[in-house]
């Protein structure tokens, strides 16, 4: 099984090389993306069967990488689950790209890196030693960087790519330190050895913090998130879908693998850091999503939010595990992992929607769109599924993970530490706030793009996208609904992964009547997505039917109520900025919102102007000073470029004398 997986990876890499040499014709993209679709489906199948069979983990060693170590590969429940996630996401993105790729002006800047990117992510998941893990991790960053630079002519794309790779390099360095701590100076790099070596809690906590920095910087945890809202949107949409939907999950896989599988026991006081980081990331991320005016950036910010939610869940798992409550840890871990899967589904879907809109209108800024539900009905319907799911509304999948998250939050009284007893419900409140804000953000997203009247000519002239793209989106939407209606299956499925990560798993949900979810039998809190779906459908359909039956069914079209000002301009609709106004006002300090109003003095006929802006405080308080510092350092050092030979000689002479004096005094 592992062999098959590696074969597919190999094929993906070969495909990359082939794409580099293949002629730059119209056939090539179809070939490359088609092949990627097939190969990713293969990966998904492997993950699926590994989970379904829940077979014993199988390992494999290839004679590459560190000479005396070799490259260790292994597939167990955890990696199988993320492999499945990667397979689904990759297959969908590639399928979408078969259609979407036609619109790429320079396919040769995307094709050679795309399959390799998929392959690298697979290797990260399959690798079983520190070197292979970090190597593939870095290759993943590199190839995605190259993909981000597809439209390299745009200045801000180059800046985005630069920021992205620098942050990635920083993250990898931190991970190096983390693995250095775990492997010790002896250099036992394979995961088995790392698992065996016992380490005290302080050390473990230190590694946890490093992982939080390293993996967090790739997943988009604050304050290492700054690259994400610029880099993800800069890439072609199918790549954005992969980066947001899948790559962040690979980062989370790394965190889970190290912290929950390799690291061993953790002190309880390590968990608040993770929980707080996650919760803050979630709420701040979604606030920026509400305030951003660029469709794809909204999605990127919401990715940050969801990563925050997942990390909060992981923090809960740490807390429960530190209190020796594997059952509850399993609940939190299940919530986190299922949310990872769900987020992959609907975030990929939404990025594809954004791409479709981008292709149809050529515009990304929300205030240029509107009314597309008339021009692109199918895309709109699929997008509706996506936004409903991401807003955590029943009966779709987003709500399931949300619900599980809250269920595990409600178990906090069982924690021994008063500090956590206070913290966890507060974090739960923050998550609740996040969920509600997410609904706001995506009402705005969907409403401004698809509803109302077109705000620009391209939006008015848009037309539906090709079948491939629609097929990919439809598939993901179907999975969203399925995962929402039959959550029990998903939970049983993620069981092996959860067991590895938290030492226990939830009871099997397959036997419950009506596909109901009863995570903890001892306290029978239950939820049945299937029944809710059924009831809503029956009641709604029934209501519609009766009304049409016993009462009127007549419809007349007429102008909208214009309040006495006929044929108002589309610009008078509520736009992205105005819709966000109430939230912006309520949460002003968090997003450093500034609104400036210019009122012409009496007699001046010019128009009044209003401008609103938000600032990322991480930039203001962390990165800008840092950049200034480096700049000052560089300038200071640079003056050494301009000395005279005599001065350089005096440098040598001085150093020599210094050393000699040191020697004389040392003896």
């Amino acid at each position: 099984m592992i062999g098959a997986g590696l074969t597919i990876v190999g094929l993906l890499l070969v495909l990359s090389l082939a794409a580099a040499v293949l002629p730059n014709g119209p056939k090539t993209p179809v070939l490359v993306y088609g092949a990627s679709t097939a190969l990713c489906s293969g990966l998904a199948a492997i993950g699926f069967s590994a989970l379904a069979a829940s077979a014993d983990p199988v390992g494999l060693i290839l004679p590459i990488g560190l000479p005396w170590l070799g490259a260790h590969f292994r597939i167990d429940g955890l990696s199988a689950f993320f492999l499945l996630l990667l397979g689904i996401g990759g297959a969908a993105a590639s399928l979408y790209a078969i259609g979407y790729g036609r619109h790429e002006h320079e396919p040769h800047r995307t094709l050679p890196f795309y399959p390799g990117f998929l392959g690298a992510m697979a290797v990260v998941i399959l690798s079983d030693d520190a070197f292979t893990f970090l190597l593939s991790w870095e290759v993943m960053s590199l190839l995605s960087w190259a993909l981000v630079l597809t439209h390299h002519r745009a200045e801000d794309t180059r800046q985005a790519g630069y920021l992205y790779l620098v942050m990635a390099g920083f993250g990898t360095m931190v991970l190096l330190l983390a693995f250095g701590l775990m492997a010790g100076s002896g250099g036992s790099y394979d995961f088995a050895a790392i698992r065996e070596t016992g380490r005290n809690e302080m050390l473990a906590a230190a590694v946890l913090m490093l992982m939080l920095l390293g993996a967090g910087s790739k997943a988009g945890l604050m304050p290492m998130h700054v690259w994400l809202p610029v880099a993800h949107p800069a890439a072609p949409s199918h790549v954005s879908a992969l980066m947001s939907g899948v790559m962040t999950k690979v980062a989370i896989y790394g965190f889970v693998r190290v912290v929950f599988d390799l690291l061993g026991p953790l002190p309880w006081w390590a968990s608040p850091v993770v929980i707080v980081a996650g919760a803050l990331t979630a709420v701040i991320g979604i606030l920026f999503a509400i305030n951003d005016g660029d469709g794809k950036r909204v999605l990127a910010w919401s990715t940050i939010e969801n990563v925050g939610i997942i990390f909060a869940g992981l923090g809960l798992a740490v807390a429960f595990r530190a209190n020796a409550m594997p059952g509850l840890a399993a609940l939190a871990m299940t919530a986190a992992l299922i949310h990872a899967m769900n987020h992959m589904l609907f975030k990929s879907l939404l990025f594809m929607v954004a791409g479709a809109v981008l292709n149809a209108t050529g515009r990304r800024d929300l205030d240029a769109l509107g009314g597309l539900i008339h021009r692109m009905p199918v895309t709109a319907a699929l997008a509706l599924v996506g936004v409903t799911a991401i807003s955590a509304l029943p009966p779709l999948n987003g709500f399931v993970s949300e619900w599980l998250m809250f269920q595990s939050v409600l178990q906090s009284p069982q924690l021994a530490q008063p500090g956590l007893q206070f913290l966890v419900p507060a974090a739960g409140g923050v998550l609740a706030l996040t969920a509600a804000l997410a609904a706001t953000a995506f009402v705005r997203f969907f409403g401004v793009i698809f509803l109302g009247r077109a705000r620009s000519d391209p939006a008015a002239a848009a037309s539906e996208v090709d079948r491939w793209s629609l097929g990919a989106m439809a598939g993901l939407a179907a999975l969203c609904i399925l995962a929402g209606v039959l959550p029990g299956l998903l939970i049983d499925f993620v069981g092996p992964a959860v067991e590895i990560a938290s030492g226990d798993r939830l009871v099997s949900q397959a036997s419950n009547a009506w596909f109901t979810l009863v995570p903890l039998p001892q306290i029978d809190s239950s939820y049945s997505g299937f029944l809710v779906m059924a009831f809503v459908a029956i009641v709604g359909g029934g209501a519609a039917w009766t009304v049409h039956r016993i009462a009127s069914r007549g419809v007349r079209r007429g102008p909208a109520w214009d309040c006495g000002f006929p044929n108002a301009d589309p610009i008078t609709q509520y736009g992205a900025g105005s819709f966000a106004q109430p939230i912006r006002r309520s949460f002003g300090p968090v997003v450093a919102a500034r609104e400036t109003v210019f009122m012409p003095p009496p007699g001046d006929p010019s128009a009044a102007r209003h401008a609103a802006s938000t600032t990322d405080l991480a930039w203001r308080h962390l990165y800008t000073p840092l950049i200034a510092l480096v700049g000052a350092l560089a300038t200071r050092a640079n003056s050494l470029q301009f000395l005279t030979i005599r001065r350089y000689l005096s440098l040598v002479f001085g150093t020599l004398i210094l050393l000699l004096v040191g020697l004389a005094t040392w003896n």
Binding site: G65, Y162, V166, L176, N638, I645, L659, L663
Partner: protein, 480 residues
């Protein structure tokens, strides 16, 4: 005389130098240069198959220097190939005349001779003479273009180099005097193998003073801060093949010499441990060079400073010591000379295409010259420690092993690495992407050496050949 590779790697360049000095036609001389380098490389490579000769009082071959000799002759070969295709265009543009081209090729072989001699010599005195010879020949090469800047660079290089040489000599004398009571007068006390063998009895205090002079003296050649001043200008103003040779080979040779003496010091436990000094100098060079990378405007100076940075990393690794760190140091050394010379090949072609070395005037290479541009991107990312290049492997080993031993030092190291990475990437983004700039000329020089090196780097990074691993491990053990 039987087939004797060690002396062959010396004889071939010497003879070739003599021939080239007499050869009038520059075209033929370019190819003779290549042929001679090829022969030298073959002779060096044959060291793997023929059994090694007995270590004499002058020459010897052991695990340590065999790696260097082969690497040295190999890069010497590729650089010769590149220069053969490069120098023609220089002649067309009139930057060089056939006269000083003849001189150039002769000097090239003299330089190779000097470096090979330094590597195979088993005698610290001979080693010193060889290093000086290599230095002088490169000084003349740097001044080749006779431009104001070139002469200034050569002059700076020359003065600093000579002072370094002088200090190194004093260190050598001290070593001899420390050894003389034990090994007796004359030659034996200068044979490094014997020195190391009987290092334990040598007077530690004498060794300490000697090592200070040696590391300052040869450290100047290695380009460690604060002795680095000659390096950037010498790289920037000389012909690009020479920049490649400087970064790829000469620094290594100097480093090799430092390593020899480090082995000597390590073998005498009462003497001052060389580690801390090397670690300090390494970190200083790394962080300083990293900071210097930001404000660069000249592409060759940029990569010259990056050489300083990497010398810092290597010296740090050897200073940390231990099997893994030494392994990493050796690997990094090999990787750096391959990668950096590849980068300079690319830079040479770029400078010829764009007619400038100013970073600001070079834009969008991946657009205008994909093969060259992506080659540069891969090379620069490799030198910045991105996989799958072997540099990643060495940095992985250095950072992971040092963090658990000396966290603070490792943090400084990581800081320097990230700093340097950000700087290199900043310039790379400008050079490789965006709208192409300048006149869009075709290539004048071959890309074969560039891609050959890149292929090797990737290969070693993914799968190191077994024998190489064996050598490295035994050498790492030797270095202690």
């Amino acid at each position: 005389m039987s087939f004797d590779p060690p002396s062959l790697v010396l004889i071939v360049p010497a003879v070739a130098a003599a021939m080239l000095a007499l050869m009038p036609s520059y075209r033929a001389s370019a190819w003779i240069n290549v042929a001679a380098s090829l022969l030298t490389f073959l002779a060096a490579a044959s060291l793997f198959v023929v059994e090694r000769p007995e270590a004499g009082d002058y020459l010897h071959v052991d695990d340590l220097n065999i790696v260097f000799i082969v690497l040295n002759t190999f890069v010497g070969l590729t650089a010769a190939v590149f220069s053969a295709s490069y120098i023609g265009h220089e002649l067309q543009t009139g930057r060089v005349t056939p006269a000083n081209l003849r001189f150039y090729h002769a000097m090239y072989q003299v330089m190779m001779f000097g470096m090979n001699l330094a590597l195979v010599s088993n005698n610290i005195g001979l080693m010193w003479v060889a290093v000086e010879l290599a230095t002088l020949s490169t000084v003349l090469m740097v001044g080749l273009y006779r431009t104001h800047e070139a002469l200034e660079a050569a002059w700076k290089y020359f003065i600093l180099g000579s002072v370094g040489i002088a200090l190194a000599l004093f260190g050598t004398i001290l070593i001899y005097m420390a050894a003389q009571p034990i090994l007796g007068e004359g030659l034996p006390s200068m044979v490094s193998s014997k020195l190391i063998a009987s290092a334990a009895e040598l007077d530690p205090k004498m060794l300490n003073v000697a090592f200070v002079f040696l590391i300052v003296g040869y450290g100047t050649k290695v380009g460690l801060a604060p002795f680095h001043a000659w390096l950037p200008d010498a790289h920037a103003e000389g012909p690009t093949p020479i920049s490649a040779v400087l970064s790829g080979l000469l620094l290594n040779v100097a480093l090799y010499v430092v390593l020899r003496f480090k082995m000597l010091m390590a073998a005498n436990e009462t003497a001052l441990a060389p580690g801390p000094l090397m670690v300090a100098l390494g970190l200083l060079s790394l962080v300083f060079a990293a900071a210097m990378l930001y404000r660069r405007r000249d592409i060759k100076r940029l990569f010259a400073y990056s050489s300083i940075e990497h010398m810092g990393i290597i010296v740090f690794a050897f200073g940390m010591g231990g099997a893994l760190a030494n392994f990493a140091g050796l690997l990094h050394m090999v990787m750096h000379s391959l990668t950096k010379s590849a980068i300079f090949f690319a830079v040479g072609s770029i400078a010829q295409i764009k007619g400038t070395q100013r970073l600001a005037d070079i834009r969008g290479l991946t657009q205008s010259h994909p093969l060259l541009g992506w080659g540069l991107v891969i090379a620069v990312l490799s030198i910045a420690g991105m996989p799958p290049s072997g540099v990643f492997m060495s940095e992985f080993l250095v950072v992971t092993t040092s963090f658990s031993r000396a966290p603070i030092l490792a943090l400084v190291l990581v800081f320097g690495l990230v700093l340097a990475f950000a700087a290199l990437l900043l310039h790379l983004t400008g050079v490789a992407f965006g709208e192409p700039s300048g006149e869009d000329e075709p290539l004048h020089s071959t890309l074969v050496p560039l891609w050959l090196h890149l292929a090797l780097i990737m290969l070693i990074g993914l799968h190191m050949p077994g024998p190489m691993v064996e050598w490295f491990r035994s050498v790492a053990a030797l270095l202690g």
